[in-house]
């Protein structure tokens, strides 16, 4: 026993060499080291605060900097979300026409001054002119229709071209939804620039363009990325967060909550989303702070009032009709549909993305986007349900009495474009419903197909809205079906007692909402957060039960085909080192089976605590690619002393060679506390105890892998040393574990690309 107290600092390298303790790009951080660093920093500030008033003030400001940062993140994200909403609204309307008072007004704003009172009429105020009116002077007839059609395609192509070009030119990280990468980053991975200012600027602009182009994508997922960018940039204002990767990830977790909060106007749901779906390390302090930030963001957005109705989202809805227990059957049916769709979508999308990666398709992202945008525009315009934006569609489907109101204007191109459109305007109302139904059915098929190829293109693209739209259409269809069934068969035993003839006993809007939740659940495998987000959209506790039944069914059904959600699937596709915190490791292997070196490998590369020269160490580092090296007492005993990281070793030796006198290749490298006695003519030793981790994690070779995986997950380790009866035997890294898991699941272990 050597009771020598803290020995970390008995070292000439007391001032840390710049760079020691930082990480390279595409590497995993060491959570334990980062958190320990932060505690050291905090301790220092606390100790100093007792000495002077200035230091005390510094300590107080340090304590509150987290809250201030949260406030700023909330304000900035809320403002950006408001801006994106307004801009997207305006550009989307521009595809249909232009405001004569000023082109910067959107359709609704343009018509506010109009005298017509009914909503339907106000929609066609004289100040707003469709492109056909503007160009041909009339809005009737086949020619006008074709002009509008062409203009719609033109704008769609222009917007999507701008979006993809900007992304490619300035910020390649701005594409996609960003959630898979954010999950990976939050789990402790470094992707430099992914949350930088260029990504933020370009993502904000191109998100507006992509949404407006009419592609089958939403802005909700990317808003999480935008909020995380804001948080990351604002972190640079505070040393505490700038310098510590773990602390910064706490802020990013909160920012993810902020993103969902502004996307759905659901602060509580946002916090739960961050907790359930994206975060890795989520202490209670973060819970409370994310809630604060999510609220600030929601209220900022509300004060911007992008939709002019003091609601945070387009598809807020209030139901008043109760639901009956019998209806649980169709709700569960919707859950099954959602689960099946989720499983199918993930497979199809991943297959498509893999194809894009492996074939020549991946070399022409701009052309791909343009082709998909053209296809979307050509097919979407004739059907009023696909022509409107996803959020508008969802809002209509959630609402109770809008299905017929809006569907008697346009009909599906393929069948009717060459007929005079006007003759269809006064068809009987009974027929109207059927038209609406098959339009919806076509919209469903179209959305399903186009979403598969859209998600993953090189433009910002969220999945929430397309998934919800698909579910909402399916739900609405089922709801209308149920309504008809109840209407014509209200004396059936299942309707008897709660559905009197003529009464409005089925709420198709609720079915749409349940369907939306089911599909979103199937695709993302969210559970609590999804139900709470939906609950915050409706505001009625009693609708939780249908939502819950559908979400639960959907998750079970989807899980039966594969346990990964779309985000995990994309993480795996990209080969990021992500250790899923949700799933249990169920295999019975032992750590000795997974660690390196394997039996056929050369022996483990180790450093000895004394006796090696600078040259030998350099040669060892050069000849291997490991990220770190265990330090042992001697090669014979293999008793473990500590662990030194490759990067720290290289930087320190490099620095010593430049700055420290007498350090040459023959100098001894010493990791012990006291330098060993040397020959008098030997060069001075290089003491590197300061960069060695004196508390490396170890497990025994007999530790079952499930426990080892648990340790890696819970402590956020990067590597762990393996011992047998006190002797160092090997090393196990996160990558080894992931490769082992891939092997068990019959996947290619080399698909794990990063450390």
């Amino acid at each position: 026993m050597n009771g020598n107290g803290p020995t970390k600092l008995v070292d000439p390298l007391e001032d840390p060499v710049p760079g020691v303790g930082t990480y390279e790009d595409f590497n995993t951080i060491d959570w334990v080291r980062e958190k320990s660093k932060d505690r050291d920093r905090h301790r220092e500030i606390t100790n100093k605060s007792r000495q002077s008033t200035v230091a005390l003030l510094h300590s107080v400001s340090d304590a509150f900097s987290g809250w201030l940062l949260m406030l700023l993140v909330g304000l900035m994200s809320g403002a950006l979300a408001g801006g994106i909403d307004i801009a997207a609204h305006w550009l989307t309307d521009m595809k249909g026409g232009v405001c004569l008072i000023g082109f910067w007004f959107n359709h609704e704003h343009c018509c506010w001054t109009s005298n017509e009172t009914t909503f339907q009429e106000r929609d066609r105020c004289p100040q707003w002119q469709s492109w056909a009116e503007l160009i041909t002077g009339t809005s009737e007839g086949a020619f006008a229709y074709i002009v509008n059609y062409l203009m719609y395609i033109f704008w769609a192509l222009l917007f999507s071209f701008l979006a993809v070009t900007l992304v490619r030119a300035f910020a390649p990280y701005a594409c996609g939804s960003g959630i898979p990468e954010i999950k990976t980053i939050l789990s402790g991975f470094i992707i430099r620039g992914y949350l930088g200012k260029w990504t933020l600027i370009i993502k904000t602009i191109t998100l507006v363009l992509a949404v407006s182009s009419g592609l089958s994508l939403g802005k909700e997922g990317p808003l999480v990325h935008v909020a995380c960018c804001c948080a990351n940039i604002l972190c640079h204002l505070f040393t505490k967060y700038r310098k510590n990767e773990a602390k910064r990830r706490e802020v990013l977790s909160a920012a993810a909550a902020v993103g969902v909060s502004v996307a759905f106007g659901a602060p509580i749901g946002g916090v739960l989303f961050s907790l359930e779906e994206v975060s890795y390390y989520f202490p209670l302090k973060t819970l409370w702070r994310s809630f604060f930030a999510a609220l600030v963001a929601a209220f900022t957005l509300r004060s911007i009032n992008p939709f002019g109705n003091s609601r945070l989202v387009l598809f807020y809805v209030e139901f008043h009709a109760p639901w009956h227990l019998v209806e649980l059957a169709p709700f569960i049916l919707l859950g099954i549909f959602g689960g099946l769709w989720g499983a199918l979508f993930i497979r199809a999308n991943i297959a498509w993305c893999r194809r894009r990666k492996s074939t020549r398709l991946g070399h022409y992202p701009v052309i791909e986007v343009l082709v998909v945008a053209a296809l979307t525009a050509v097919l979407a315009f004739p059907n009023s349900y696909t022509r409107m934006s996803g959020a508008e569609l969802i809002s209509e489907l959630f609402n109770d009495c809008s299905l017929l109101d809006s569907s008697h204007n346009f009909i599906y191109f393929v069948f009717f474009v060459f007929l005079p459109v006007s003759i269809l305007a006064d068809r009987p109302a009974g027929k109207g419903l059927y038209t609406a139904l098959w339009q919806l059915a076509l919209a469903l098929v179209f959305k399903m197909l186009i979403t598969v190829i859209t998600f993953g293109m090189k433009v910002p693209s969220g999945l929430f809205i397309p998934s919800m739209a698909i579910g909402a259409i399916a739900g609405r269809l089922l709801g209308v079906g149920m309504e008809q069934l109840a209407y014509y068969n209200h004396d059936w035993f299942i309707f008897k007692g709660w559905c009197s003839p003529g009464a409005d006993c089925i709420t198709p809007g609720l079915y749409a909402m349940v369907g939306a939740a089911a599909c979103l659940g199937g695709v993302t495998r969210m559970t609590v957060s999804l139900v709470v987000i939906m609950f915050e959209l409706t505001g009625g506790l009693e609708y939780i039960v249908p939502l819950m039944a559908a979400t639960m069914t959907s998750k079970w059904v989807a899980d039966a085909f594969g346990r990964e959600g779309i985000y995990e699937a994309h993480i795996r596709l990209n080969g990021y080192p992500f250790l899923e915190p949700k799933e249990e490791f169920e295999h019975s292997s032992l750590t000795v089976d997974v660690m390196r070196p394997r039996r056929s490998d050369p022996a483990l590369a180790v450093l000895t605590q004394e006796g090696m020269t600078v040259g030998e160490v350099e040669a060892l580092v050069e000849s291997t690619h490991y990220s770190g090296f265990p330090v042992v007492v001697s090669k014979e005993s293999q008793r473990l002393v500590g662990f030194a990281l490759r990067r720290d070793l290289l930087i320190s030796i490099d620095n010593a060679r430049k700055r420290q006198e007498g350090i040459v290749s023959a100098s001894q490298v010493v990791f012990t506390e006291h330098a060993p006695s040397q020959a008098p003519d030997a060069p001075p030793p290089l003491r590197l105890r300061g960069i060695m981790d004196l508390s490396p994690f170890t497990v025994t070779d007999h530790t079952p892998m499930d426990i080892t995986v648990d340790i890696f997950r819970k402590l956020g380790l990067r590597q762990c040393l393996v011992t047998h009866n006190g002797r160092l035997l090997g090393i196990i890294t996160k990558k080894d574990i992931l490769k082992h898991m891939a092997q068990i699941a019959n996947r290619d272990p080399d698909s794990i690309l990063f450390n």
Copy 2:
């Protein structure tokens, strides 16, 4: 390297000896071992399920047993909560009078058949007679008042006597709120019988009695205990949960959510309460299941409909008036009040409880309860605000226009009991408000004092309602003050612009709610869950901001005086080994400073993997009190092999002596894989590798304590071995850490009683 694969089972003890792997009462469980055991079990079921249909069905039923259990817990807890509500309502009313149609009706039910229509009148229907009416024939005059008064005291004494006697006679664990103990149990402690059937039965009955007796306590905290008892009892139906302490704790975490869900009608708040306040290990699966159980319970309670208004709680409220930014100042003031009250209450209550423990006061719990009940009844009756139950009081204070309606009936005893009550009935309305105000002020002082001595008595007693009541009174007082201020000074610059003369610009009910949240927050230090519970009570997102401002202030203010909430303070008072997961360990000690043996202690008691006899092992175990012993290669090398628990050692040796032939004191104890060669006449060796933990956790002596504490918390360890350069140096247990923390905080380290 010895690539010998899994070796755990190469042992004659393949069938585990009964008792090995279980725990003694008042001991800490090993989370890692329990979870690993469950994974083994799950693996076995999965493997078997491929063999036959029966096994497959078993596997499916096993997978769904968790959900079934949750459903049962929800149903049972919801039903019990409904029963408690109804019974408490009835008994509380009985203190005032009796229903002539049938004594089992409460006041409201009794008057349902009455013809009078207004609520005020219906309250005095002829079927319901106060005790004075029944006995003296009249309800007017001082004599009737005194009769009612005496009957009120009589019932209060009777109920509290019954409550305390039942608790003492049948289930001593039924007293208190139960939350501190549940927190400790969830963190991995064993208290046998704390969640047993007797505790459940007695707690349910005595909770009703205690609440009805008028003592200053609530049923909300104990409902968490009741729900946990239900869960624990229902766990016995499923092997998966009966046999595994870790799995059972997952269910208990969900049950805590259920308890709050039925107590406040707030399922989401309940889940967050469990997550934030009571749970220790809360995986996402539990989140989802608790949400399900909380919902089931809420809907069960709603279908029982205990309050006859389809609300789950008495004090549900809907505000419609908006609040103004200026009002944040009084809200923050309420937060400061709440924080101060919280800090003060914790100190006073802990001092009082310590006094009870250390003086003769603790020997007479029945007399104590009777005295406090008498005191409460005598002082509470004359003031209408204290006479009603806590929940009713809160409901009145939260509501917008009931302050004057209900206060013109009774006046404070000390001043007016000897005056004819009737002459005060028709005083001017302006005076009425002032009377109400000072009655409220007196009620505030009374509640504050009586709650301090009530919480901790030997009856079931929750803190939520009294704390909320105190805050609600303070808030209401401030709200009325603000209202008057705005009324008389609506041209002040702070009121200008948003408070026109005559308009109702201040909502005193909102102030009451904010005050309630602030005081509850100060006492319990809840944050998110508190805000969400309150949000679910009001249903309006916009009131979150005032609630949040007050809760945040309250927490900060209270934390400035001590970081412990009331539950943590009671845990510490009882000496339970609870490692607070929220607080960071900020001290700079190293593990070597905390581990045992200290420098002056005798060397660490270790077993060697071979060479010790049964007699020597028994002697070592007898001569020490440690819960476990490290196994090393040899005393000289001190290289660690594994860890054996005292209980397992004793049971195994005992079992071997009885059942295994030839095991005597001279038999060698062998922990190695292969028995060493022995003299031919030596007794057969006792092989104990099966009970040895081959993967004990180790840290190095240089590991900073903050990291060690983190490891203990995150992995739920009971002990960890300490090594230096690969050699075993010592051991560190949860108790050592807690003692060290107590020492740093200048507390008595011997106050940690259990392992």
